[in-house]
Symmetry: C2
Subunit: 109 residues, 2 copies
């Protein structure tokens, strides 16, 4: 490990909890981030997946941290960017249909 | 309204939000309370629906408040007791299958 390297915390699949996932999804902005990431079906930077363009960078990175620590997304560093992808397989293995069900309601608030 | 009467806050069906419901369910103890209430299919006092018998009364009533304010349960006063019931019809109308999906995972954590 080199000095200054950012370590991202990713729970193992079996450590992903229902309470953690629900808490992470219990925010319209975070739901929108997950939706954006799933729509693209590819890694996205935090800015690309932002729910709105004028969100403060600290707010945005906090949302990504909550999603990451809940096990919903995988973040990796690519150059100066953080690349994010939804851990669809892990979430669907732990809680089948949960993501699809919740995201289906995401638009109605 | 008589003095000292406790007013319970219940959101109207259309004011129940996805974020509020998910946040309320994002706690193993509250999930267990909802499960207990649904299993009985009848009004229950807070103590009867408690997730564990030794839970502090203040903790328990806080959990019930969170569930009530999210629109998940309806509380009414009957004598000195608070009677609680899950607002199944309201939740299912707003977010079909959400409750069933989430409660299905409640045991595995």
């Amino acid at each position: 490990m080199s000095f200054g390297m950012i370590q991202f915390v990713h729970p193992a699949r079996e450590d992903i909890t229902l309470a953690g996932v629900l808490a992470a999804l219990a925010d319209p902005m975070r739901l929108q981030i997950v939706k954006n990431l799933l729509d693209r079906k590819d890694c996205m930077s935090c800015t690309e997946a932002a729910p709105c363009p004028d969100m403060a960078k600290s707010t945005l990175s906090n949302h990504f941290r909550v999603l990451r620590e809940a096990g919903l997304i995988q973040t990796s560093k690519k150059g100066v960017e953080h690349r994010n992808v939804v851990r669809e397989a892990d979430i669907n293995a732990r809680f089948p249909k949960l993501l699809k069900t919740v995201l289906g309601f995401a638009e109605q608030g």
